[in-house]
Symmetry: D4
Subunit: 248 residues, 8 copies
C-alpha cells in the first residue's frame, strides 16, 4: 500500500463517500492484516517511502516465501536479507520475478525502478572477506532506488590503492565503508571526502577481533568527524541509512 | 584559510605570477605552520568547508588559547569542545568575541554566519542528564550554519511526551537523539520520522550502564533501520555528521 | 505430593496413627527419593504451591522421560522446558496425556486445572524471533494456573502498533515483555502500565547484540521504575515470577 | 495533581462547564509545566498512583531544591534519592517538613500517610556495606505506603543467621534482597520463601567484583525461579517494584 | 620413574659405580625421552609424588594411546582427562587394564593403590549438569590415592538438602564444590565447614552465565574466607589441589 | 567466646544448672549481640577456630574502633584489614595493645600466641608493588598462628633470583604467591614445589592489566596443577586459606 | 614482479625507450591486475622484499588455487596459511611443486631459496597444543629465507626443561614464543635472552582462557621489556615480524 | 656494574688472584645487594647491555631518589619513567646531573653516550594527546644509545600529512607508532615502510575507547603484517624493544 492509496482514502472522505469513522476504521485495520506468524506493517511504506524488508535468517523457507509473497502484492520493491538459496527457491515458486544476489545473500524483487536518490552512493570495502557485507549494502541501496559504485579490496595497509580511487570517491554523495580486523578504513576515507561516511564493522578477523568488536570500537573512536556507525555486519542498515541521506 | 584563498593561488599561477613549482611549494607548506604543540591543518577547511575545532579537554588553558587564537585568524567559525571556564577566560583574553556556552561546555567564535544547512536539524534528548551532550550537538550544528530545534526530557517511559512533538520532529531534515541508560529513544524516534537519525549514547546512568556501554549497544542494535551511531558522549560528532547531511 | 497430602500426614499424627517421630522420619525421607541421576524435591511443591519443572536441555530423552514420569505421579502439573520433539516422544511413551508445545519447545502435563492467578498476565514481544521465549513464558504461566493474553510483534520502531493495544495491556495484573536487539520495549510498556513488568532479554540479534547482552543491559538500565529483569531467554523464569505475583 | 483532580475535570465536562476541547487543552498542558531545567510529569501520578521522585545525583543543590519544592505542591509524597546533606539543606529551606534519611542518602516528604500495600515487604541484606542500598529500598517502599521490615547482615557464609529469620521472612508478601560480592543471598532466600524476590546487586566488593558485575551476573543466573533483578545499587527500583507488587 | 629409582642412582654414585659426571648426565637425559610429539617429564613424579596425566582433548586417539602407553610403563597411576570413548578404545588396545569412567569422561589406570591422603575429600555439586565436572574431581582424587565421598544435587535454592548433609561434610579434610549458574554453593559450604574449600565454577547455565563466567566471578568474590578457586570446568585441577592438601 | 565457654554451657545443662530450653535460648542469643551497625558472629570462632576479622575499608574510624574493641573482649586475636592510620589511632584509644602494620595496612591485636600451623608458610611476590598484598597475607597468617617466611621481588623475568630460593621454598608446607601484571609467577613456583600454591592476583600494572584482570586470568589458566586462586588483591583470603591448610 | 623488473622500467625511461607518462601508466596498472575476486598487489613485493601470502581460511578451494597460481607466476615464494588439505589438492593441480605442511596447515611454494635473514630465529612453544601456531611461524620464517630452530613443550611449570635450552636460545637473533593458557612463557624467555621476543598468544585452553584472551593480556603485561605481541594464534604475523627484524 | 667489571672478575680468577669459589661467591652476592625496599639486579645490565630503569609511579619521592642514586653508581645510564616533578627534585638532590624530561614525565641520567643503535628509530604519533607516550619512547631510545626522529600529529584522517613524511619514514630502521582512539595509524605506516613497526596504543580518547582498549584491539588486528604491539601507554616498552632491534 503506497501513499497514493491513502490519499484516495482521504479523498473519499472529502467527497462524502466514507464517514470519518469508517475511514479511521479502515486505516486502523490495514496495518494489522495478520499473516499468522508476523504482522506486516503497511504503514512503514507510508512513513518512509521505502521498500519492504524481510530478515530471512532464522525463518523457515516456507515462512520467508509466505511473507515475501504477501509483501510483493503491495507493488513496492521487496528485499529478503541473509537468505539461503533454499529460501530463495521457495520464494521463486511464489514470486517468479524474484532474483537471488548470491554474494549479498539477498533475494530481491524490483517492481519500482524509479531513481529516488539524488546522487551516487559509494561502497568501499577493505578485504575480500568484507564483500558479502558490502554487497548487502549495494543491493539494499539499489533496491531503494540509488546509483551505487563499489570499490573493493582497498585496505589501509596498501594506502596507494585507496588513493588511486580518491577522485572517484569524491564524486559520491554518501560513502559506505565496510571493514573488519582493525576497522581503520572509515577514518582514512572520512579524511578524504567531504560527505557523510557510514561505517560498517564486519566480523572478518580472528583472535582479538572478537567477532567484529575490534572493528566496531575502532570505528566508534574514529578521528574523522564525518563518520557514524551501524551494527557489525549490518550491510542492510548502512544501505538503508545511506539511501535515506541520498534522498534528502 | 578558506577555499577562496586557494582559488586565488591557482589564479596567480594561471596569470603567470607564480610558477607551478612555487605554487606547489606554497601549498605544501601551508598546512604545516607549526604552533609548537600542534600542527593546524588548514586543508581541512578546504576539504570539508567546515569550521575549525579544538578538543579542549586535556590541554592547558594557555594551549587552548594559543590554538584558538591561531585558528581564529583563518576567518572561519572556531569551536572548542569540552572546555572549562578557565580555558574560556584564557581564550577571551586573546579573542574578544569568543563566547562560552556553559551547558555545552563549549567556546564558540562565530565569524561566518552564513546558513549552510538546507533544512532544520532536530536535537532530542531523554533526560536532564543528557542535556550537556545534546547542547554540544546544538552548538556544533549552529557553528556549522544550521537552524536547530531541540526537544529535551522526552524519554521513552513517558511516551506521550515524545508523541506530543511528533509533528515538529517530522519537519526536521536530520534528527540527533541523545540518550543514556537503556538508550531506547533513537529506536522510537527512528520509527516516527522518515529521515536519518544520528544516535548519541551518553554516559548518564550507573551500575550496569557501564559508563554508556548499555546505551551504545542498545543503539547499535536498534530495530529502526534509519539509525546510525557515534561514540559515547560525542555530541560534537553527531552535530558534525548531521551538518554534513543537512548540506547535501 | 501436594499440600493436601502433607496436611493428611499431620492429621494422622493428631489422631495418634503416627508418632511425631515416625512423621518426621517419613517427611524427612520424602524429598530424597533417589532417581539415580537427580533427587526430585517434593518439598518444593509444598513450599511454593507450584508445579514440577524439568530443564530438558542437556539431558538424554530417556532421562527426561524418567524424571517426567516420576514427577507426573505427584498429581501436579509437570513442565519440561527447552525440550526437543525426540524428548517429547520418549515422554509420551510413558505419560500418555503429555502434550508438546512446539513454539515454546515445552512438554506439558496438565493434571491440575485450577485457576491460581487472581488476574490476567499479558505477554508482549517485540519481533517474531522473540516468540519462542514469549511462548515459554505463556506455557509456564498457564501451567501455573493463570489466564494469559499475548501481544506479539509490537516493537518500538512501530510505536503505533503497541499503542493500539494500550487499553488491553492496562487490564493485565502483571506484564511480561520479551525483546532482543536493543531491548527497549519494557521501558515503553513500563511507562504505559501501572503494574509490575517482568523484562526478558532474548538472544535475538547479531553483531553487537552479543547474544542478548545488549538487550539485558538495556533492560537493567530501564528508565521505567516498575521493571525487573530475568536472565537472557529465560521465558520460564518470567512466567514463574509473574505467576507468583499474580497469586498474591 | 492526583487522580481526584482529573476526575473533577471530566465532571466539569459532563456538567457542561467545560467544552471537551477546553478540557483536552487543559489536560494537554498539565504535564508540561516547565521548571526551566526539567519537565515535571504530573501524569505519572495519575498513571501509577505513586509519589514523585527526583534523582539528586549530578544536580546542584539549587536544582534539587527547585524540583523538590515544585513537586511538593502536588500534595503527594516526594522522594529525592542519592542526595547529599548539602542538597538536603537547600531543600529544607524551601520545604520545612522534608526529612533526611542519612543511611539511605534520601530526602523524604511524607504528605500522604495512607497504607497502599496490602502486606509486608521484607528487605534483606548480606553485609554492612549493603545497608545504604537496602535503606534506599526501605525508604522508597515506606514513601509508597508499605509496612517494611528489614533483616541486615545475614550473608550466606553464616547461613544459620539467615535461617533464624526464616519464619519472619515467610510472613512477607514480597522480599527485597540486597547483596554485593558473590550475590548469592537471593538464591538462598528465594528457596526459603514462596513469594516474589526482587534482587538488588550492590557494588560492594573489590577486585573481581567489578563494581557489582559479579553480583549482578550471579543474581541473573539464580537457580531460584522466583527471583527477578534490578540494576546495580538500585535500591529505589527494588522498593518501587516491590511496592507495585504489594498493591495488587 | 619413581623416587626409589633416583635414590638408587645416588647410591651408585656413593658406591663409586658411577662418577658424579656420569650420574648428572644420566639424570639430565631422563626427562627428555622424546615421544615424537611430546616430552614426557618423569621429574614431575619425583617432584610431586603424583601420577601422570594426559589432557586427551584435542589429541587424536592414536596420540592419546601412544602417550598413555608410554606413561603406563612408569608404574604409576595414569589418568587421561576429557577423553572420548573412541580414545579409550585406542588406549585399551595398548593398555588392557585401563578403565573408562564415563560420567567423568576419564581414562584411568590404577597401578598404585596406596592410600596417600590422610583424610577424606568431599565433592559437592549443585545441579545434575555439574556432575561431569564433579566426577572428574572424584576420579582425579581417587587416582591420587584418596578416599572420596560425593554429595550431588544440593543447590542453594533448596538449602535444607545441603544442611541434611552438614555433619557428613564436617568430617571431610578438604571439600571440593562444583557449581554453575550463580556459583553460590561454595560460599554456603564454606560457612558450614572449618576446612579448605576448593571451588570449581562450571559452564552449566545459559544467557548471562556467559559459559561459566558468572559462577567464576561469584566464587572469586565469596564472602567465605576459606574458599579458593580453579578454572571453569577444571574438575581435574580441583581434585589435584585437594589431593595435595590431603597429603600434608 | 571460645569453644571452652560453649563446653561450659553444656556442662551446666548436664549438671542441671540450666534447662535445655534455657541453654538453647542463651546460645541462640549469643551470636546476635547487636553492636548497632553490625552483628558480630561469635559462632564463627567456634566453627573455624580462627580469629575475628574486620574489613576496615569503607567504615568510619569510630565504627572500626567500636567493632574492634568489642571483638577484642572475646580473647582471640583480632585483625582489621585495609585500615588507615586514622582508623588505627581510633582503635588504639580503646585497645592499647593493638599494633599497626603499615605495609600491610592492617591493625593487629595478638592475644593468643599459640602456634596452630604445623609447618611454615612461604609468601612470594613478584614486584615491589605487590608487597602490600603480600604483607596482608603475612600478617593474616601470623595472626592465625603460623610461622611465615617471605621472598619478595623475585619476578619471572629474572628467573635466577627465584631459583636462588628454590631450596627454601621447598621447605614450606603451603606457598602463597602474589603477582600483578601478567601473573606468571604462580605457574613457575607451582612447578618448583610439591605443595599447594595459593595465587593472589594484584592490581599492580596499567593499561591492559585492567586492574588485575590480566593477572587473575593468567593464574586461573595456570599450567601448574597445584595452583588455586583468590580474588584480586585479596592477601587476607590467601593468608586465611593457607592457614587453614597448614592446620590440617 | 620483483624489484629487478621495476629497476628495468626506470632504465627504459632513462634510455628514452619509454616516456615518463608511459612508465607511470605501466606502473599504475601493474598492481591492479584483476583476478575477479581479489586484486593482487605486486607492489607489496617491491616494498617489503617479501613473498606473497594468501589467507586460505574462508575461501573456496578453487579461489585459493586461482590466487595461488597467479602469485606463483611472480617467481617469489608463495604461502597459503590456514589451508585445508582439500585446498592444497586444488592448488597442487595447478602448481605441481607446492607442498603441504600439515602441522602448520600451510601450503608453501619455494621458488627463491636465498637466505635473507642474517642470524637464526628461535621458535619456542609451551604445550603440544601450541604447535600448530608455532609451526605456522616456522614455515613463514623459512619461506622468508631464515634459518629456524624450534624448542617445543618447554612450559613454565617445568622450568628446568626451558633452562636446559638456555644456551641454544641465547644464540638466536630473534625469538618467537607461542603460548596459550596463562601465556607466561614469553616473560621467562624474555628474561633469559638479550634479543627481541615476539610473543604469540594461542587459543589453547578452556574456561577462563576465553579463547586466548588470558594469554594475550598476560603477554601485553609482560614484566620483560623486550617483548612485543601479535594477535591470538597469529603464527604468520610472528614469523613475518621476526623475519623483518632478522634482515636488518 | 657493566660487563667490563665481570670480565675483570674472571681475569682475576685466571690469574689466580681469586679462587673459583670466591668468584662464584662474589658474583652470587652482587645482584642481591638489598636496598631495603627493592633488590636491584645488576645482572640485568650484564645480560642485556641496557641501562637501569625505575618505574617511579606509585613510589615515594624518597624511594625513587634512593633507588636512582644507587643505580647511578653503576656508571650506566639511568631512567625513571612516569616520574613527577616532585620525585625529580628528590632525585636531583642526590644525583646532580639528572635531568627532567617534562613531556615524557621521565628522569634521565646520561653517563654513557655511546651510540649502540646501528640506524635511526622513527617515532610517529597521531594526535597531540599521544605525545607524552611518544616522548617516553623517544627518551628511552635515546637513553639506550639511539638516534631518534619524531613525526607528531600525523593522524590517519589527514592522510596527506603522513604521506608528506613517507620518504623520511622509509629511512628508519625501526618505527614506533603511538595512537589512541581507533589506533589505525600503525596499519597505514606498516604499509608504507619495509621495517618492523612497534605499535603503542594510548589511552587517549573517551567513551568507547575504553581507556585504550579500542586502540589496542585495532593494533592487534592490524592488516599490516610487520606490526607488533606493546601494552597501552607503554612508551618505555616500545622504546626498549625498538632499541634492542636497532642493535642487531
Amino acid at each position: 500500500m503506497k501513499p497514493e492509496s491513502i490519499k484516495q482514502l482521504f479523498e473519499q472522505v472529502r467527497r462524502g463517500k466514507l464517514s470519518p469513522d469508517e475511514a479511521v476504521e479502515r486505516l486502523r485495520h490495514l496495518p494489522f492484516e495478520d499473516l499468522g506468524f508476523a504482522k506486516v506493517d503497511h504503514h512503514r511504506v507510508l512513513r518512509a517511502g521505502m521498500p519492504e524488508v524481510v530478515l530471512a535468517e532464522g525463518k523457515s523457507a516456507a515462512q520467508v516465501a509466505g511473507i515475501f509473497a504477501r509483501l510483493a502484492r503491495q507493488g513496492t520493491n521487496v528485499l529478503a536479507t541473509r537468505a539461503t538459496e533454499e529460501q530463495f527457491r521457495a520464494v521463486r515458486r511464489r514470486v517468479r520475478r524474484a532474483e537471488y544476489r548470491e554474494l549479498a545473500r539477498a533475494i530481491v524483487l524490483r517492481q519500482d525502478r524509479k531513481r529516488y536518490g539524488k546522487g551516487r552512493i559509494a561502497v568501499v570495502s577493505a578485504g575480500t572477506g568484507d564483500i558479502p557485507v558490502a554487497e548487502e549494502a549495494v543491493v539494499t541501496a539499489e533496491a531503494m532506488g540509488n546509483e551505487v559504485e563499489h570499490f573493493y579490496d582497498v585496505g589501509v595497509a596498501g594506502i596507494h590503492r585507496l588513493l588511486a580511487h580518491r577522485e572517484a570517491l569524491s564524486g559520491a554523495r554518501v560513502v559506505i565503508v565496510c571493514a573488519g580486523m582493525e576497522g581503520a578504513l572509515p577514518s582514512v576515507v572520512g579524511g578524504l571526502v567531504g560527505v557523510p561516511v557510514i561505517a560498517v564493522p564486519t566480523s572478518v578477523g580472528y583472535g582479538a577481533s572478537f567477532e567484529g568488536l575490534a572493528a566496531l570500537l575502532g570505528m566508534l573512536n574514529s578521528c574523522a568527524s564525518n563518520v557514524s556507525v551501524v551494527n557489525i555486519d549490518n550491510g542492510f542498515g548502512a544501505g538503508y541509512v545511506a539511501s535515506m541521506i541520498n534522498r534528502l
